[in-house]
């Protein structure tokens, strides 16, 4: 019995690919020495930078992709800024995976509505690509995407492919655009009324900043989607990943640890929280 066999165990790996996606987001493809990450869509890992610290990051690739996993990291704090200096071939270590995944098995056979705002596309992409790779298990699929401006769009190559697929309805919008932008301009909430859906058999999976949840959920409820069919992935500062350190507890009458009881929740579980 020692720390090496516990969830503090550090898993070593290599960055096999890295790319600066936007001014503030960088993408990494990581191969672990001990094999597959063995995660499910919606889980996260703790990235270890010795001497700097640890930081929780959502896995943005689907478990259906074998051999390596991907992270998209925004340079927001001390550790993530340092992480942006890492390149292909560099050593990296992680702990995990941690957290409750998206309820993929419950969602089988239902229609899916994905709503991603900004960096929310990163955790959601692990699920979207999982659904794409198991497409016939699911009903109708709608993807709504919002970001600040066209140059902030993440995974634009992949999004281009999604938008061309016949088995996916895709729409995206930007808050502000240059004159050459041909798509929608406006908040992501403006896309929801136009979606044709059967509320009883639709799961809406929403990932974005706290402010977005409030308005997007209001629109989804207007569409009569049941509260337990609205799935969210919440952001908190998970420091241990094991439901102990306390930092990620949701301010809610029930004591949820975001790292263990989440990060994915249904709206009915967390709706009493002042800030999602």
């Amino acid at each position: 019995m020692d720390i090496k066999n516990s969830n503090w165990r550090i898993r070593r790996g290599k960055i096999i690919n890295a790319r600066q996606m936007t001014a503030s987001e960088k993408w990494f493809d990581i191969q672990l020495e001990d094999g597959e990450l063995d995660h499910e869509p919606g889980q996260f890992v703790q990235v270890e930078l010795f001497g700097i610290g640890e930081v929780p990051i959502s896995v943005c690739s689907s478990p259906t992709k074998k051999g390596s996993f991907e992270l998209t990291v925004r340079a927001a704090g001390r550790v993530t800024r340092e992480m942006h200096k890492l390149e292909k071939g560099d050593f990296i270590a992680i702990r995990g995976p941690f957290g409750k995944p998206f309820p993929v098995r419950t969602m089988v056979g239902n229609d899916l509505l994905f709503v991603a705002g900004g960096l929310g596309i990163a955790p959601l992409r692990s699920l979207i690509n999982y659904v794409m790779d198991n497409r016939r298990e699911f009903g109708k699929v709608d993807i709504l995407l919002g970001c600040k401006s066209p140059k902030d769009m993440l995974f634009s190559d992949e999004i281009g492919k999604w938008s061309k697929r016949l088995d996916v309805n895709f729409a995206c919008t930007v808050d502000k655009a240059e004159p050459d932008w041909k798509g929608n301009v406006g908040l992501i909430t403006s896309l929801i009324p136009g979606v044709n859906l059967n509320p009883e058999r639709t799961y809406a999976v929403v990932v974005g900043p706290p402010i977005m949840y409030k308005f997007v959920i209001a629109e989804l409820l207007k569409k009569n989607i049941p509260e337990r069919h609205i799935v969210l992935s919440l952001e908190r500062h998970m420091k241990c990943g094991m439901g102990k350190c306390g930092h990620c507890q949701i301010d809610h009458p029930k004591n949820y640890y975001c790292c263990k009881d989440g990060p994915t929740f249904t709206y009915d579980e967390v709706k009493e929280a002042k800030k999602l």
């Binding site: 010795f50 930081v55 270590a93 952001e235 439901g243 102990k244 004591n255």
Partner: protein
């Protein structure tokens, strides 16, 4: 139940025999009515008649600062090693409130995924309880949560029955030790003396808050959005004293420290507090518990509501430390009274 007897004048012998086997820590007077657990060599060092120490004994198995791993960045790839320093230790004269606190932490750190550092340290502990025959002060509310009486969680348990200590043996480890120093078994008169102590405690230790403990979780269901938390929040200065001295608070932080060679360093786990302003802040700047009222509410719910849902017990042991130490005069008993009043129980 096995009972042995120790003459009070033999206490020094007892402590010295114990100290031959392992490190012994016990309450020591720090002046001005303050006490602290620290290493002792003889009975003279010990303040047997003490009120709850500044820090609870959790500091020995959940250290204030603890090294999780060492790393070395000098090679091509960083190397890390994890070690653990967990010496055998006896904690002497632990009051029943603190025994209850240790039991709470045991549950938390035994919950999967387990915390091996904590569990290994705890394995090496020899815990000797000591009964309070009278109240420490008016901050305590141990009778409310029934922690004024022993409920297990010790190897040996001392009760002062006049010129002797009656020792309840609770584990094989405890049995082996009392046998090794040849303590006599308790007779009928000593057992009668214990009965007398417990009877007189029944009269003096009474529910301090005048609310039915069974109703507390239900009460808390009604006051989550109450204005009373704003009143508490207005007083609070977010110093984190209440959580640091709490025998059941266990939130922690992780930080990397690099040595002057800039090549080696350690990852340190240290106590943290949900009362600190940035405790629930994420890197983007969003603070999910930004008001002091939210943080105080969180603390109190973590004692009386959340652990009841999760572990079917209060995480308040009634030791009174949080109220005793609060610079702003926030009193847990007062909060409970207000909760009861507002929820109309």
């Amino acid at each position: 139940m096995k009972y042995h007897v120790l003459e009070k004048e033999q206490l020094d012998c007892f402590i010295k025999s114990l100290a031959k086997k392992m490190k012994v820590v016990a309450p020591v007077s720090k002046g001005s009515g303050n006490y602290a657990f620290q290493e002792v060599k003889s009975a003279q060092d010990i303040a047997v008649d003490y009120i709850p120490t500044i820090l609870p004994p959790k500091k020995y198995f959940m250290p204030v600062r603890e090294k999780m791993l060492d790393f070395d960045l000098s090679g091509k790839e960083p190397k890390e090693t994890a070690g653990l320093d967990a010496c055998e230790m006896a904690i002497f004269a632990v009051h029943t409130c603190d025994l209850a606190g240790i039991q709470c932490l045991n549950i938390v750190f035994n919950e999967r995924p387990r915390d091996y550092n904590y569990l290994l340290r705890k394995e090496n502990l020899f815990i000797i309880g000591l009964e309070c025959n009278k109240y420490c002060d008016s901050f305590a509310s141990c009778a409310l949560v029934n922690s004024h009486l022993p409920n297990g969680g010790y190897d040996l348990f001392f009760t002062d029955i006049g010129n002797k200590y009656l020792i309840n043996v609770n584990t094989q480890k405890g049995e082996d030790f009392v046998e090794s120093i040849g303590l006599p078994k308790a007779g009928a008169s000593e057992m009668a003396a214990l009965e007398k102590v417990r009877e007189s405690k029944k009269a003096s230790f009474k529910n301090e808050v005048d609310v039915d403990a069974k109703k507390i979780p239900e009460m808390f269901e009604k006051v989550y959005n109450s204005k009373l938390w704003e009143k508490v929040g207005e007083k609070c200065v977010s110093c984190g004293n209440c959580t640091n001295v709490c025998p059941t608070c266990y939130c922690f932080d992780m930080d990397d420290f690099i040595n002057l060679d800039l090549k080696t360093g350690s990852r340190i786990r240290s106590w943290d507090s949900c009362q600190f302003e940035t405790f629930a802040t994420v890197a983007g700047g969003e603070n999910f518990r930004e008001e002091r009222s939210m943080r105080q509410r969180h603390r109190v719910y973590r004692k009386f509501k959340f652990p009841v849902d999760k572990f079917n017990r209060f995480f308040c042991t009634g030791c009174g430390r949080c109220s005793r130490t609060c610079m702003a005069g926030i009193n847990l008993k007062e909060i409970l009274k207000e909760v009861a009043e507002e929820s109309k129980f």
